[in-house]
Symmetry: C2
Subunit: 300 residues, 2 copies
């Protein structure tokens, strides 16, 4: 049970100028885009997947704030060649995700456009929202959920090599990610800052470090221990380094958080720590490699 | 003063995974799209206008519900050729509208896309939101604000004939519409149903009639009296009928409402009434003409 919400009730749903909700307390609000050719490629996923994934991606921002979903609006821009059957598939994927996340779609918008895109805006409630700032020197860096699988899945689809359990697991992670609402809720009262990994672990650790005015150190050894065996096997069959997929692959929608070691949630893996300074570094066997984020040279 | 809001405060703005607001009471929530080539044409308006107009259009849905704006998120999809200077102009127009409406932009999203589009999602607070249903037989049909000017403005721009005060007024109405927040607030406690005129008076009267299970009768005589003199002059110089522009031209963002005659707000013009039946009819000199909405033949 997530159970840390403000009270919320839906009074008017789809069909009027606007949805009507009754809310009380702190509200967290996000909007997220999924554009064909930028965020998805229909050669690699069905329209059900597109609807499901875009909805999960939007709600993932609520998870990263430690919020519980209240409701969402879906704005669809549909090209002329988009059939009613196509629309049904897209809506079915969204509805499936909305059900799984307990986040009903209460309205939205339709428009013609030359390319397919989905904008999802979601409201959540959170007594104590987790922001990106607040990390302190000495905090641990925590990972909740998997990284690298979605990137491996996309690489496998692009290469046309998706046979075997490990690659199939990666393809599923790419097509059907899950917003980590329970993990986000478990961070409240424990973490000092959090965000979801949508751009890749290295880049998102950089966002957190910048917002908090600190340096994030990722331990290659700790991160490697946290990787799924399927990622290691998939990387081998794709001739890629698992650590590279984990650091630079986005769209798994894992959560990255920081907090004191004593408060680490049971399901979080410690993958590094916070230091004075700025940017993100990877520590490999006592040596350090900059991962961008304003720290772009080898340090010792 | 609008003064009928629930309490609302913005705690975290742009830059985190989501915006954080503190809300208490009834909340009204909408999302609206402006897509290049569908909703606007850059030959006829600047990017400042595009930003201003798309923001006003989104907030107009709050006005139609009798709500007071709390905040907005702006999601921009930008083509590759879109320059930083272009972006500045677009944001400047949005910011101007946000200031004018008292509706701060507290976050949003950027993405690449092949075409320019803006999705604006807005939250408002309203003790008693006005929906589209609730019209009763015997109610008056009220118009607040102008209709037809924006359509005349677009027609003038398309024809390349914008000289003269009347056409200039119409072009301004097209490029710089205003969400009628004060009129919407004045409807609360008076109107039984309301919506904003974005598709055209005939079509939107049809939406209201359908949602309420009634027939809307528009009196050509009353509507003609409510038209702006500039529309009549502009229509003459464009060789169009003013009533046609008023009935079928959208995007003025006037408000259409229904309620008992005794409760008509001072600034509302009565342009018709509600009957048993369905659809929308125009009454011209005792004869009736169907305006669509499920009532598609001449009636007496």
């Amino acid at each position: 049970m997530l159970g840390r919400s403000a009270r919320a009730a839906i009074e008017t749903g789809i069909g009027d100028d606007a949805a009507v909700l009754r809310l009380s307390g702190r509200v967290v609000w996000t909007v997220d885009a999924a554009v064909e050719g930028v965020h998805f490629d229909r050669r690699f996923m069905t329209l059900d997947d597109v609807g499901f994934r875009s909805f999960q991606a939007a709600v993932s921002d609520l998870a990263a704030m430690g919020a519980r979903p209240v409701a969402a609006l879906s704005a669809l821009a549909l090209p002329e060649r988009f059939s009613d059957r196509d629309l049904e598939r897209l809506l079915r994927g969204q509805a499936e995700a909305a059900r799984a996340l307990g986040c009903p779609i209460v309205g939205g918008n339709f428009t013609r456009a030359s390319e397919l895109s989905i904008h999802t805006t979601a409201l959540g409630s959170a007594r104590s929202p987790l922001t990106r700032s607040g990390a302190r020197v000495g905090d641990e860096l925590w990972l909740l959920g998997d990284v690298g699988l979605a990137a491996a899945g996309l690489a496998a689809l692009t290469a046309g090599r998706t046979r075997g359990a490990a690659l199939a697991r990666c393809v599923a992670a790419f097509r059907r990610p899950s917003a980590r609402l329970e993990d986000g809720a478990a961070l409240v009262g424990r973490a000092r800052a959090a965000l979801d990994v949508s751009d890749g672990l290295a880049g998102d650790a950089g966002h957190l470090a910048r917002a908090s005015g600190v340096r994030a150190v990722i331990s290659a050894e700790q991160l490697t221990r946290a990787l799924r065996p399927e990622l290691v096997r998939a990387a081998a069959s794709l001739d890629r380094a698992p650590l590279e997929l984990a650091l630079y692959g986005g769209e798994d929608y894992a959560l990255l958080a920081v907090g004191p070691a004593a408060r680490r949630p049971p399901r979080a893996a410690a993958i590094g720590w916070i230091e004075r300074g700025r940017g993100v570094v990877l520590e490999v066997g006592g040596r350090r490699r900059a991962l961008g984020g304003g720290y772009d040279h080898f340090a010792r």
